[in-house]
């Protein structure tokens, strides 16, 4: 009758005593070891840090920060935009002694960072993508890059490489940052051939692999032969697209290793530069500006090396447009331009340069994009 599941008392006592011994043995753990460094920097990601995308681009930046002497980096991935992120930030402050935090997801800003910043005046919160304004706490900063320019360069290469004159875009949500990328991608391609159209499919979520694969297949079925995307992890779109024989333009990080033969180029974040600059400024006792923006010229974004499939004319135009953008004042959105419902966006001679804050409130798809914002 005595089995493992119905122990007699002696067996029961022996087993519980063993467990208690295990617990006692573990009481000498090195908590607080991270406090020894002169600066502890915390990075928080909304998804996995090896997603070949948004989170990986930030994790690469964190990896660069790790190399700075005297700096300890603590990281946490897959932190939801709920009270979870508030607790993660507090935990990094309390348990790790972090005094500079990079909560990298857009949704961390309001209300979470804004709730914690006044309670932790000695901690600096640097947030990616938000719009810091003077009424926000002084120990909060926001930074972002003009990555739409990278999607424009993607479009230039795509415009040369497409044979069907149909290019495609797998997008998460119809929000300004995404719409700017879609429009830039098409306008880049149209700078090569004004007859090109861009089919866009919104998946509705930042990370939803099944829908991303379905969307990519649907684009291939419609004859699209160059695809790019704006989702958190472009891996699914890249692998599915390559499987369907489409050329690929990357986003967020370098996805060339996923399909080297089909990968043309990609719009990448260069957070390594941004983060090492910010951490070095902090180490020297300086102050980081509360509102930071930059593009190709400032090294905030970069382009993936051109793939072997890219043709010579495409290569040439890519390099010359890139040089123009780096000079500054380049406008992708310029008149005459209508949206795809026929409304005028810009009249002849009117233009919105990359630094124009109006672009951060974009709510239209330009003429030539097949799709709808709602």
């Amino acid at each position: 009758m005595t089995s493992f599941l119905t122990p007699n008392r002696r067996q029961f006592l022996t087993r519980t005593a063993g467990l208690a011994g295990l617990a006692a043995a573990g009481s000498a753990l090195p908590f607080g070891a991270a406090r020894a460094a002169s600066l502890t920097v915390g990075f928080i990601y909304v998804g996995p840090k090896d997603d070949y995308g948004y989170n990986q681009s930030h994790a690469e930046g964190a990896a660069a920060v790790k190399a700075i002497p005297g700096v300890t980096v603590v990281e946490e991935e897959r932190v939801p935009e709920t009270v979870d992120v508030q607790k993660t930030m507090e935990s990094m402050i309390n348990f790790d002694g972090a005094s500079l935090l990079f909560p990298t997801s857009f949704g961390y800003f309001d209300p979470h960072i804004l709730a914690l910043a006044p309670k932790n005046p000695k901690v600096r919160f640097e947030h990616c993508g938000g719009l810091w304004t003077a009424d926000k706490p002084k120990n909060v900063g926001s930074y972002f890059g003009y990555i739409g320019m990278g999607q424009y360069l993607n479009g230039v290469v795509a415009g040369h490489m497409t044979k069907s004159k149909k290019i495609g875009f797998v997008a998460a949500k119809p929000i300004p940052q995404v719409l700017l990328n879609i429009n830039s991608f098409l306008l880049g391609a149209r700078s090569v051939d004004p007859t090109i159209t861009c089919q866009v499919i919104f998946t509705g979520e930042w990370s939803l692999a099944v829908k991303e694969a379905e969307a990519t297949n649907a684009l291939a079925d419609q004859g699209v032969d160059v695809v790019t995307c704006h989702v958190d992890g472009p891996k699914v779109v890249m692998e599915t697209g390559a499987g369907r024989g489409m050329y690929l333009c990357g986003y967020h990080a370098n996805q060339a290793p996923l399909a080297p033969a089909k990968y043309l180029t990609g719009a990448e974040w260069n957070w390594a530069k941004v983060y090492t600059d910010m951490v070095n400024t902090t180490l020297k006792g300086g102050a980081i500006n509360n509102f930071v923006r930059g593009g190709l010229a400032e090294g905030f974004i970069k382009m993936s090396p051109l793939g072997s499939a890219v043709s010579e004319p495409a290569r040439k135009q890519f390099e010359s447009v890139k040089a123009e953008i780096i000079k500054g004042g380049y406008a992708v959105i310029k008149g005459p331009l209508k949206d795809n419902k026929g409304n005028v966006i810009a009249t002849q001679g009117q233009s919105f340069v990359e630094t124009d804050v109006a672009l951060e409130g974009m709510n239209y798809l330009v003429d030539g994009v097949v799709g709808s914002t709602s």
Binding site: T6, F12, L22, G26, M92, D110, Q177, S374
Partner: protein
């Protein structure tokens, strides 16, 4: 001789009644606790396989979940929505209904609260919060009560329908906050218009956790009273035990099913309301944070007992609170805690199957026999 025998028998009877009494108290606790421990032991095996020390792991879980005052604030803040979410599973379960789609009611309750804040922003704070609570409760009641009604009138399996309806709820929420209810100023994170400051729910003084925690604990106690100490609860338990017998006795099984699922929905809806009014300040996609699914684990761990939901929710909230430190100190992936919780859940399901086969009281009787 006979007197001595009688005395001895009487003494033995008294001893055994004390043991019985202790057993009755401890028996319901024994299996879930044993299941938690078993889950921990199995999980230790996983940790050893990847070369990590289980002792380090459990010390970190303890430290980050329960070891400091900050840890407790962290744990209790996470427990607040879980208490209410678990009740949405526990109440229908007492009638034999496995409702696993509380997430849908949480999300829609949050949207309802955000909508009220948007449509009638001018009320005094207390009335505004009350209006949001009523809107969220009614929404949750309709959503989950509808699942009970579908089960009663159409024989639709409530487990499947509640799960699928949760996806529909999330899609509906996305449609609403990105479409008709969107605040045009919410550029890159579509949300409803931020609630007026008067409608925001603050923190319980001293512990840094919003009032949803207190409401959750009171709700758990009320549910326990309802189930264990009222005729309604008694009737519900009879329906859960044997629905045919309940019907033969003239109990309104259908009404009870709809009523208890709706009440579960009320609590889930309130959880969504607190997320909006105490945490986010507006309704948006962050409402779908998975609390409804964690609530399932908690309700099963608590064996659908309202009072037991409180410690179970705090335990799971502590696990989740430790997830970050586990990542940072041990270099384990974030999924570690999810796997750990899954192990415990499986152990609890298994322990349910063993419920009648292991009697905690036998552990006491061994002494009497030998």
């Amino acid at each position: 001789m006979t007197l001595q025998a009688d005395l001895a028998a009487g003494l033995a009877a008294k001893q055994s009644s004390v043991a019985d009494y202790a057993g009755r108290i401890l028996q319901p606790l024994f299996l879930p606790l044993a299941a938690v421990v078993a889950g921990m032991i199995v999980f230790s095996g996983f940790l050893l396989l990847v070369g990590k020390s289980p002792i380090d792991f459990y010390m970190i879980v303890y430290k980050a979940g329960f070891g400091t005052s900050f840890s407790w604030a962290n744990t209790l803040a996470r427990a607040a929505p879980l208490l209410l979410a678990a009740l949405c599973v526990a109440l229908p379960a007492r009638l034999g209904l496995v409702v696993i789609g509380g997430e849908g009611a949480i999300v829609l309750g949050g949207v309802a609260a955000g909508t009220v804040g948007m449509m009638v922003p001018g009320l005094p704070g207390v009335l505004g919060i009350l209006a949001m609570a009523i809107a969220a409760s009614v929404t949750g009641a309709i959503w989950i009560g509808g699942i009970g009604a579908l089960r009663h009138y159409r024989g639709v399996n409530e487990t499947i329908s509640s799960l699928l309806l949760a996806y529909i709820a999330i899609a509906l929420m996305n449609h609403l906050v990105e479409g008709p209810l969107r605040d045009p100023a919410s550029l890159n994170k579509p949300s409803t218009v931020p609630l007026p400051e008067a409608y925001r729910i603050g923190e319980i003084p001293g512990i840094g956790v919003h009032w949803g925690l207190a409401v959750g604990i009171v709700a758990c106690i009320l549910c326990w009273v309802l189930i264990e100490r009222t005729t309604w609860g008694f009737a519900a338990r009879i329906v859960g035990g044997n629905i045919r017998a309940a019907q033969v006795q003239g109990l309104p099984a259908g009404l009870l099913m709809i009523g208890f699922t709706a009440l579960g929905g009320v609590f889930a809806g309130l959880a969504g309301m607190f997320e909006v009014a105490a945490v986010h300040g507006s309704a948006n996609a962050s409402l779908a944070a998975g609390y409804g699914y964690t609530g399932i684990l908690i309700a099963f761990l608590a064996r659908h007992n309202g009072l037991a939901v409180i410690p179970a929710a705090i335990l799971f909230a502590g696990f989740e609170a430790s997830s970050g430190l586990v990542q940072r100190r041990l270099g384990l992936p974030d999924a570690t805690i999810v796997v750990f919780e899954g192990m415990i859940f499986i152990a609890i399901l298994l322990s349910d199957a063993l419920q009648d086969k292991i009697d905690f009281r036998t552990l006491f009787r061994i002494r009497g026999r030998s």
